[in-house]
Symmetry: C2
Subunit: 131 residues, 2 copies
Amino acid sequence: MAHPIPRNTRQKAAIRGVFEAHDRPLSPQEVLEFAQARVARLGIATVYRNLKSLVQEEWLTPVAMPGGAVLYEMAGKNHHHHFQCDRCHRVYEVKGCVPAVNRLGGSGFKVQRHEVILYGICAACRGRRRN
Amino acid sequence: MAHPIPRNTRQKAAIRGVFEAHDRPLSPQEVLEFAQARVARLGIATVYRNLKSLVQEEWLTPVAMPGGAVLYEMAGKNHHHHFQCDRCHRVYEVKGCVPAVNRLGGSGFKVQRHEVILYGICAACRGRRRN
DNA sequence: CGGCTCTTGAGATCGTTGTATCATTCTTAC
DNA sequence: GTAAGAATGATACAACGATCTCAAGAGCCG
């Protein structure tokens, strides 16, 4: 009720496995598709339920993208940012930062954190013709 | 039909006036509220219609924020970024940039543009107690 | 194994945002 | 001023993502 005793289900293990196999932020739909290769009849509701509980356990972190998509990535990573491919729309992690960005706010704003999103063409799409 | 002859309506003028009076990106709801001070019975559908046409005329530019909100600001500004206040959630323009951000992608990504969003507390909210 | 109860799967439902409809009002040209 | 038709306002509707319901299935403990 208030504190149900959690169980280890194949579904949740499959979802964790998907994040371990793909080192980039994933959408709920992507998680569903990848995890269905491991648990055939997996449903979208189960994906949402487990994403939520994995966030509560701090095993995942939500990544809100401009446009409204909310992706998830494994928690506990060092400070980093993201790159989104204009062609395939996949999002990748970009290591490093330019600390000077926090000074962009000048004196009028008390800046506490920041997001940087790069856009362009990813290596995979550059290699191919299209998509 | 294909090219209706546009007319200058009080509503559209009011909406333009709202953006000229507030030098920051505004949500459709904010536009509605501010513009209703000028045209009392203004409806939300008219706001959406005029936002769309002002974007087509390139008088406005959409600003997609993480979380899904799409705001609008006057077009033609110099390269800049945005600050969102964690308290009042208003978004402000931040002039300047750190060009080095485009190099964060390394050699794996062909970076064509970027977004920087700063978060913290705005001057107005710092002056007040709350909200 | 047996059973308690947590979790799942399928679909219905919700909430939000933006669009379509259509009678009415307003702008513009003459 | 008048008429043609573009724009408005009120509301219904659509689209989408996410959540809820509940019977059925499965994990865990003894």
